[in-house]
Symmetry: C2
């Protein structure tokens, strides 16, 4: 038989997370307090996060040990398989060798539990009883609800109201895992009540839901907040993906990939896969390696956003973070890849882009679904709408190889299955997907709200 699946053993689950901050040639800019403009110290974050995570957030250690109890939970589905996409290669008639890491085997069907489990663990260790969070499409709320259940924590999810209505099944999954979920804006927080007073029919947004979850956590002694992407410690926890993939490619007889591709929203699945490879480019001799982030053209944070200080949420409750941003007021178009609808980019990924270590590309949703359906019909797996962006990016790279006749090694991360997202495929087949443009004028308008903020 041809090898298509490269599997590792339990013992191959990484013992350490990889912290790319330790390897950047120039240091990261610190987050700032919006009032004073001064760097935010660890103590300012203590009402929201356990100290272990805050230390990870600012750590300069290259390797950070994964607690045994976390590895024990991850061992249920990790190491996840790496596949050689032989049937896709054949259909594309490309000389490229395409590999994809498959994170859809996790209990919730995406990469999100990798960090949810770690975050729940550290909170339990610090005696926390309850965690709040926001969720858009629902993958993150599901994963955190799952992880909280395992560590006997309560979980309160604020779900963007319009998604809450469109995706009632997400509520059912979150409740199956024992979590509570309310549509946001809600009556539970001051932020929510204020928005509802102005607009009782507010559809909500990820930024508003973050504001509510942060307020809820800040108000209660026994409660912390958890974020599913963007922050340094979240990206850190996802590096198990790339570290495993590196070992798997070696076992497949490859050295390092020529092209690494990931889909990009907040940055955690992209970074989790790409950073362990990127370290060989920024600290080693892999200068020719290309690392490509694929984002939605309707929310082109990396390709059109400005690199500057901005808030992580819509209302301006978080510290200011140095990142590529479309402006915290920006409400992205309602594309089906809900997990990629975020105005900012993880500071670590923004830094890598600014340093020239990675490149970025934006795709419209219809071409991404074209790619996703081609993938399903060859590789048999129906990707989540978010993952369709990386499939499109990988296919583009493979077709370039076909033109040039080069047999490159292309590796990407397929971050989740689309079984919760079939309404999106239904709309695609019915020809109902829209092409949303992001214009320079939209950017100009969004940036006006940032004119008072400190610059990088």
């Amino acid at each position: 038989m041809d090898t298509i699946k490269i599997q590792l053993e339990d013992g191959d689950i990484p013992e350490n997370w990889y912290n790319i901050a330790s390897d950047f040639k120039t240091p990261m800019l610190p987050p700032l307090h919006p009032g004073t403009g001064e760097p935010v110290g660890p103590e300012a974050l203590a009402p929201l996060f356990p100290m272990a995570l805050i230390q990870q957030e600012v750590s300069q250690e290259r390797w950070i040990e994964i607690p045994d109890e976390v590895r024990q939970v991850l061992a249920q589905w990790r190491p996840s398989p790496l596949y050689r996409a032989r049937r896709l290669e054949k259909a594309l008639d490309t000389p490229a060798r395409i590999y994809y890491k498959w994170e859809g085997v996790s209990p919730s069907g995406s990469h999100k539990p990798n960090t949810a489990v770690a975050q729940a663990f550290y909170n339990r260790e610090e005696g926390i009883k309850r965690i709040t969070t926001e969720t858009g499409a629902g993958q993150w709320g599901t994963a955190l609800s799952y992880a909280c259940q395992l560590f006997e924590l309560e979980c309160q999810v604020y779900m963007v109201r319009i998604s809450f209505g469109q995706k009632p099944y997400r509520k059912a999954v979150i409740e199956t895992y024992g979590g509570n979920v309310v549509p946001s804006p809600s009556e539970l927080t001051e932020a929510g009540r204020k928005i509802l007073a102005d607009d009782p029919d507010s559809p909500g947004s990820l930024g508003i839901a973050i504001s509510e979850a942060v307020e809820d956590a800040a108000m209660r002694e026994d409660t912390h907040y958890a974020l599913g992407s963007v922050l340094n410690h979240v990206l850190l926890h996802q590096t198990v993906i790339g570290l495993e993939a590196e070992k798997q490619l070696e076992r497949a007889g490859e050295s390092l990939p020529d092209v690494v591709v990931g889909c990009f929203g907040g940055g955690s699945n992209f970074a989790g896969f790409a950073f362990p490879f990127l370290r060989h480019k920024i600290t080693g001799d892999q200068h020719a390696m290309r690392v490509v982030a694929c984002e939605p053209a309707s929310c082109p944070t990396l390709t059109k956003g400005e690199y500057r200080y901005d808030f992580g949420d819509a209302i301006g409750m978080t510290p200011l973070m140095p990142m590529h941003t479309l402006g915290h007021n920006f409400v992205p178009a309602k594309i089906h890849a809900g997990g990629l609808r975020y105005h900012g980019a993880a500071p670590l990924v923004s830094h890598a882009l600014r340093e020239g270590d990675i490149e970025a590309r934006a795709y419209h949703q219809i071409e991404c679904f074209d790619a996703g359906v081609e993938f399903a019909r060859t590789e048999g797996i129906v990707p989540a709408p978010e993952a369709n962006h990386v499939v499109k990016g990988a296919i583009d790279e493979a077709l370039r190889c076909k033109e040039s006749g080069e047999s490159k090694c292309i590796a990407f991360n397929l971050c989740g299955h689309g079984h919760f997202d079939m309404a999106a495929y239904q709309a695609y087949f019915a020809g109902q997907l829209e092409r949303h443009e992001f214009t320079d004028e939209m950017l100009r308008e969004n940036m006006q709200a940032l004119s008072e903020l400190p610059t990088v």
Copy 2:
């Protein structure tokens, strides 16, 4: 770390399917032609199935070789993992050791591709261009559509009309894999047109959809029919599950399980897991091993059905099969475990029950969802509503062990994830699940339609 996952290598994918018919102490009764009452020969099935499958249907060989090309496709997700349910054991406070085989890692999320791939392969080998089938809840239609795509066959799915309306996402998945799906009864067949003429609002049934798919296949030279359960060759293809599990239990340091549990609808996932273990009971010295089939109380084929000759479809187009049946006219209550709503039982399973080799138990859906939610909250996986029946059965066995203080080894097959079925969980949490009774009077009525048929 405690071992929770027992993984095998590609080389451990079975090279042969196990045919239990060769090991029964008394021979199986043959299927009969409904007109003549005579045994049906292979040639009568040739318009519907490729000869390789017909030979498997009647084979008395103990081991039947799995073609390399089929194993190559299965290798994408096989061997599937076997898990030790340590967190469930702890929650139940049971001395039992509970293991479950996890088939939800397949591309379509259930065990169905194991046979879909084999059936598509043999049809392609015989030059067939198109396959028809029926589907109820949609898992089988999805799996066959996936398999047909890989072997470049057209796939035509007749989906029970009421399910088609309730589960529009199933249509989207089937189309993503390139299959065609129509609600049944349809205008495409004489059987469908006849039923629509009598009742334009007919909700359809699995029996009607089978009639349509069979008629479609019989009419066209290039077209065959495929069934997702019940028939001998379908059960045969699923034995990869149990054969792998046997090897995995050995690796976990267990000998054979004391109790084997499976959920039961048509019989393929039950048999695929249980038959390889059962062979040690019927041919070896494992006389104390218990093998338990768990079925819905609203469709209690094994626990209340009569063992006799009956049709496989609603209209009476198939050969007569010797099986436990509730009567081919019976339309089961609309429970959420759509995959278990079938009036009959696979002849091989019926035979094993009659011989006293297995036992059967019926559960109501609410107690099954209770069990499924407990499983999700401990093991992290949300089971399909069908699979909740086996979870309930396994938990019952584990609680018996707690009472008796016995540390038994309980093994079961978790045949699929519930990510397509969250509407059912939603109804469960909303307290909207009904308790459907099956009465002796219903059985008497159903059996009247069978009074003219030959007896066993």
